[in-house]
């Protein structure tokens, strides 16, 4: 019986080959090619040849890389902190039994499921200075008088991008945290109750430490994906005002596809790859040690 059959090793290679070919075509080759492109002087469709690290020098000397890093840090920091805290609050709220809990839980998934670009289009309309629903609601509540263009001011532009991003992506944290909370055995809480621990004490001394691995993994995943943020920035702010929301991904896009400097774009893309790589290595290390 075993004799007629193809060997385990061979079958393994055979079955993983389509996947590996695709990964090589769409991930390995492009990263290598990006590294090559980043050493070329390309303007539009003209390639003026090898320039070494000139592209890297230029993006640093013009200060654009630094400004993109700062924008990424502000946007990313805002997104990660806001969403983690908000998600923890919502997850705790949904972990309590109440009427209609299952309905609310189903609703949570909806913002996550709809395309990010459509979230951007929707909110771009709502946040319109003159006739948007967001400002109209503020006017009705007496919080705003006249017009307000959120995207003309650096601070409010970042704030709005963070809020819209959170509208969509907080839900994924809520689901992860909720799963984590439900995995905590109720006997732990019963024991804490017997010891007379208050609700706040139970959260800080029991829930939070037990949730640490879940929070850590979610934090790292979110950090990686914050580097990817493009759709909302492209639709809501176009990187503006000035360079306030020109995060790394958007800056890469601009160099390559707006200014058609594919060499410089590739240099930014490669730096972004290294950043993702560093966080990924930390992620794999942590995952490895927690198991």
């Amino acid at each position: 019986m075993q004799g007629r059959e193809i060997g385990e090793g061979k079958l393994g290679i055979l079955m993983s080959t389509p996947a590996m070919l695709l990964i090589i075509l769409t991930a390995v080759i492009p990263i290598g090619y990006a590294l090559y492109l980043s050493t070329q002087d390309i303007q539009g469709i003209m390639n003026h040849g090898f320039v070494g690290l000139e592209n890297y020098r230029e993006i640093i000397e013009t200060g654009r890389l630094q400004s993109a890093l700062i924008a990424t840090l502000l946007f990313g920091g805002g997104v990660v902190i806001f969403q983690m805290v908000a998600a923890m609050i919502v997850a705790l709220a949904l972990n309590v039994k109440f009427m209609g809990r299952n309905i609310v839980r189903s609703l949570i998934l909806i913002p996550w499921a709809i395309p990010t670009a459509l979230v951007g289009v929707m909110w771009s309309r709502f946040l319109s200075a003159t006739d948007g629903y967001f400002n109209a609601t503020l006017r009705l509540l007496g919080l705003l008088d006249g017009e307000m263009n959120w995207f003309l001011n650096r601070g409010t532009a970042i704030l709005m991008v963070v809020l819209v991003d959170s509208w969509k992506f907080t839900s994924i944290f809520v689901m992860i945290f909720l799963a984590g909370l439900q995995a905590i055995p109720t006997t732990f809480y019963e024991a804490a109750l017997v010891d007379g621990a208050s609700r706040v004490q139970r959260f800080f001394y029991l829930t939070l430490p037990l949730m640490k691995p879940v929070i850590l993994v979610a934090l790292i995943m979110r950090t990686i994906f914050v580097f990817h943020a493009f759709d909302l920035i492209y639709i809501l702010t176009g990187g503006g005002p000035g360079d306030a929301t020109r995060v790394m991904a958007y800056y890469t896009y601009q160099e390559s596809f707006t200014f058609l400097r594919h060499g410089r774009g590739a240099a930014v893309a490669f730096i972004l790859f290294l950043m993702t790589g560093i966080v990924t290595v930390i992620y794999i290390k942590l995952l490895g040690s927690s198991e």
């Binding site: 079955m15 499921a113 992860i176």
Partner: protein, 290 residues
């Protein structure tokens, strides 16, 4: 164990109410915009908060059921219809291919011992974490050389690759959780390894497969960056790109834009509501432990 009392209960209800309103209000606004004539919304400091002069005209126009007078609006409606078709093709093809490639690879990783297994796993995990834009810059040039820009192919290739990584990682995990007893029994009965995978394991893994299928579809349906960069005409432009192009175009009424948004979000909303359990399981189990 978690009975709330007093002010804490009030606070809890406030949080829940805020969450529900924050999620639903934008959808309500979009709905109002889609059925209310332009003059009640455009330029109004307080646009119509409840539907006024309700008509489903915008939907009929977007779907091409009625003739549109203005040439630009007619063109927009046509572009939207075509983009919905393109989105269905791209998302459908990517989902199917990602499932085939991913399930095969997941089985190999979960059940078989083969040379290069660890490297394969790391490459697949790593590929999922790369930023789309990092790949878009070199891939644009590669697709240009291949001469397939502005067709479905680059979109299907990139979406398949990303979704396949998801499928592989989640299903590898899922297969690990299923005991191989049944497959072993089938093999004793003369079934080949592949036969045991195909006829025994896959049917048992159906909930997991549904979950990764839906997650893949949702991703491909909403994918924006590749669709923006690798297409340049209506030949392959997908729905998110076309709707983003409608923004700020004076000739396109809010009603039309809103009707397009309603139709663009409807499939994901339905999937999220109907298959909530599957998706959450896929996301929290496979996605988290990676």
């Amino acid at each position: 164990m978690n009975e709330l009392s007093g002010w804490l209960k009030v606070l809890h209800r406030l949080v829940v109410a805020f969450v529900v309103i924050a999620i639903l209000l934008p959808f309500y606004w979009i709905f109002v915009m889609s059925v209310t004539p332009q003059r009640y919304i455009a330029g109004q400091a307080i646009p119509a908060m409840i539907p006024v002069d309700v008509s489903f005209d915008a939907f009929a126009r977007v779907l091409g059921l009625v003739e549109v007078e203005a040439a630009q609006a007619e063109r927009a409606a046509m572009m939207f219809r075509r983009s919905m078709f393109n989105s269905v093709v791209v998302a459908g093809a990517s989902t199917i291919l990602a499932l085939i490639f991913g399930l095969l690879a997941a089985y190999a990783l979960a059940r078989l011992d083969f040379p290069g297994k660890n490297a394969s796993y790391v490459m697949i995990l790593g590929s999922r974490l790369l930023a789309q834009i990092t790949l878009a810059v070199p891939m644009f040039t590669i697709f240009e050389i291949m001469g397939i820009l502005d067709t479905y192919l680059p979109l299907i290739i990139m979406n398949t690759s990303f979704c396949m990584a998801w499928v592989t990682l989640i299903m590898d995990n899922y297969f690990d959780m299923i005991d191989s007893e049944m497959e072993d029994a089938a093999r004793v009965d003369g079934c080949t390894r592949f036969g045991a995978f195909w006829r025994v394991l896959l049917p048992m893994a159906r909930p997991g497969i549904i979950s990764v299928m839906l997650i893949s579809f949702l991703f491909a349906w909403g994918e924006f960056l590749y669709a923006l960069l690798f297409t340049s005409s209506m030949a392959a432009r997908t729905m998110p790109v076309v709707l983003s192009m409608f923004l700020g175009q004076f000739a396109i009424e809010y009603r039309l834009l809103a009707a397009g948004l309603v139709m663009g979000v409807l499939p994901p909303v339905i999937i999220a509501l109907l298959f909530q359990r599957f998706i959450v399981q896929g996301l929290t189990q496979g996605g988290l432990k990676g």
